[in-house]
């Protein structure tokens, strides 16, 4: 154990690469099922936190069981000059789906929200609201998935909260994670910075998550299992920013799909954007799924896809950086910011040779009758 780890309970991410436990107690859960007692603040709750959360997340800050995580400002400053902070709540049905689960999602979503701003994601919080009656083993599976994803994303879960609510008051489990990261001095990214001639890139197939979730709900009984693209993208984003330092803007295309992100860029930057249907990467399964249900894949959610706006001269470098990364093998240039056109508008050249406007989604996409 080196000095830095022994010295205090504060987190030093760089040096805690080899986890050495600093746990102060080990609770033992008796029950196999979560009950209201596990949210009651007494021994049952302490045992739950110890056996499930501390056991999985095991890090110096969390292990002290203080009411807050504490950071050395000087450590943070080594990453850059600006703090980035974000929060997101995760509610999903079903909680386990092909390609991921609510635990993995709750880490990836918050890590990606930090990373798209150019931040190195460092610390996450974890607040869970559990419906009574959940099996402890199910909870452990979700928490293990969070721990594994956090490790892959290079972040630590440093503080948390647990609540248990009566049956029917929530759907199995809701998770909130907040995250803190630090942005390097050299990155200046913003939705208002897109300029005429810039290229619009994505890091791979679109709509996988949205289709996977709809499919996993089982109403359609389809044969092919479409997998969610849920992934932590901090590594891919760093590679893009290193390769294309002039990058204007990055956003993860979650709910509302890439159509919503493109509209946000067009509106914030007061530019017109054109995308090409033929260049938009879509899996055959997702295309077919959308054909059957009458859905538009441009509006389907992604959990591991980003839209990147780069100056034309850096697009090749950005594409190569993405394609070299495990989450960007199918990266593609899907369109560009037009010189002229109607500001704030996105349109698509259809593969068929026509042209149509891609607007913001109104409400929810509902399957068509026939």
């Amino acid at each position: 154990m080196n000095d830095a780890q022994v010295k205090n309970s504060e987190v030093n991410l760089k040096e805690v690469s080899e986890p050495v436990s600093t746990r102060i107690r080990h609770g033992k859960l008796v029950s196999k099922v979560i009950t209201l007692a596990h949210g009651g603040g007494g021994k049952a709750m302490r045992d739950l936190i110890d056996e499930v959360f501390i056991e999985a997340f095991d890090n110096a800050s969390l292990n002290t069981l203080e009411d807050q995580a504490r950071f050395e400002l000087s450590d943070l400053a080594t990453y850059g000059n600006r703090l980035a902070m974000t929060t997101d709540s995760y509610v999903i049905d079903p909680i386990f789906f092909p390609g991921g689960d609510i635990g993995k999602l709750s880490i990836c979503g918050t890590v990606n929200d930090l990373a798209v701003g150019g931040a190195t994601p460092l610390y996450l919080t974890c607040a869970v609201i559990i419906e009574e009656g959940m099996q402890v083993d199910t909870l452990k599976k979700i928490v293990a998935s969070m721990a594994e994803t956090a490790k892959k994303a290079g972040v630590q879960i440093v503080t948390g909260d647990t609540k248990v609510v009566e049956r029917g008051s929530c759907d199995k489990i809701f998770i909130n994670t907040a995250g803190v990261g630090v942005i390097n001095e050299s990155y200046q990214l913003g939705a208002q910075l897109a300029q005429a001639g810039d290229a619009i890139l994505v890091n791979g197939f679109l709509g996988d998550h949205g289709a996977a979730i709809l499919d996993a709900r089982g109403d359609m009984n389809l044969q092919s299992a479409i997998e969610s693209d849920c992934a932590p993208l901090q590594g891919l984003i760093k590679a893009v920013l290193d390769a294309a330092p002039g990058t204007r803007f990055i956003r993860d295309a979650t709910r509302g799909g890439i159509a919503s992100v493109l509209n946000e860029i067009a509106q914030s930057s007061k530019v017109a954007i054109e995308i090409d249907e033929g260049k938009t990467p879509l899996r055959t399964e997702v295309k077919g799924f959308c054909e059957i249900l009458g859905l538009d894949p441009l509006y389907l959610a992604n959990e591991g896809k980003i839209v990147v706006v780069v100056p034309d001269e850096e697009k090749q470098a950005a594409l190569e950086a993405m394609r070299a990364h495990e989450f960007g093998a199918d990266a593609a240039e899907i369109g560009q910011v037009l010189k002229g056109g109607v500001a704030g508008r996105v349109h698509m050249q259809t593969g068929f040779g026509g042209k149509r406007i891609v607007d913001m989604l109104v409400g929810e996409q509902l399957p068509r009758i026939c």
């Binding site: 109403d219 056109g341 607007d359």
Partner: protein, 384 residues
Amino acid sequence: MKYVDEFRDPEKAKILVSEINAIAEKMSVGRTRPIRIMEVCGGHTHSIFRYGIENILPETIELIHGPGCPVCVLPMGRVDDCVSVAERPEVIFTTFGDAMRVPGSKKSLLTAKADGADVRMVYSPMDALSLARKNPDREVVFFGLGFETTMPSTALTVLQAEAEGITNFSLFCNHITIIPTVKAVLDSPDMQLDGFLGPGHVSMVIGNAPYEFIATHYDKPVVVAGFEPLDILQSLWMVLKQLDEGVAKIENQYNRIVPEDGNDVALEAIGKVFRLREFFEWRGLGSIDHSGVQLTDEYAAYDAEIKFDVKSVTVADPKSCQCGEVLKGVIKPWDCKVFGKACTPETPLGALMVSSEGACAAYYQYGDKKNINVDVEIVEEAIA
């Protein structure tokens, strides 16, 4: 995608468009108004917008988006009725997804759901029947909606419920028929149509013979069309060719799907459980004789209107809405007084703004021909 991409080939489209251009140019000599062709079916409207088809046609051809979106033509009173059924505590109300947003006079099914009604989205009436099997202590009601396309699956579900002796399943029937509706459009005094794209999937069930009167009595060509972009272009070309040659007949472009005489099994199921209503109310078009169906007396036990003593309220369309004139092709969506102002996809007043198959929602979302052309000019100017 195999069997789909072949019907979206841009090279073949170019050939068709140049053929269309040639006929249109020849025909426009001496004409004072554009050639107006109505696609009856909402599925066609959806494809036309999705692939930007209007945008590649010559100015002299105008597509009129007809009354064939069953969600769009549902009147407010019927929505109020279905909300009243859905709000009964014993009821699980099942519906196709896009019907949930249709506004009633007070609320839509989506709002009723938020207010506590048990409204569930299903993909088929059989899903509703299996809900009834799983919930014997609840009343499961299926919101039957659509033209002859969806009628057979509803009919077969009722027959299946009967065969299994399931009594907690019923149908709130809003199925409508296409022929009286097309006739109503043709009889309207302000009608200015030159020809029709016939509804492919309806025809798969009813065949081509029922359209004969359009050619013989009204002297208008009909081409039953498929839903892929090349289907639509080829069908338009076939209509133009008839117009150019001065003939009016029923042709079947969608012959890979549509049998000349329809589908006997489907028609038999429909005939067994449904009978024509004396009249049915349409949003924007008013009451049309024999344009809707209801369950026959033999299957009355499955009729939600009888089971729950539905009041059948009539609610007038909002005065400011001009859905009817848009449906008949008298005005374009953007000519309507409330289009894009009081009536948007977020707050639809008229039903044409509700479904993505509705002409107004499609124009609102995908933009109209004029605006898209403006785009192109500006872009070209800027590049020059």
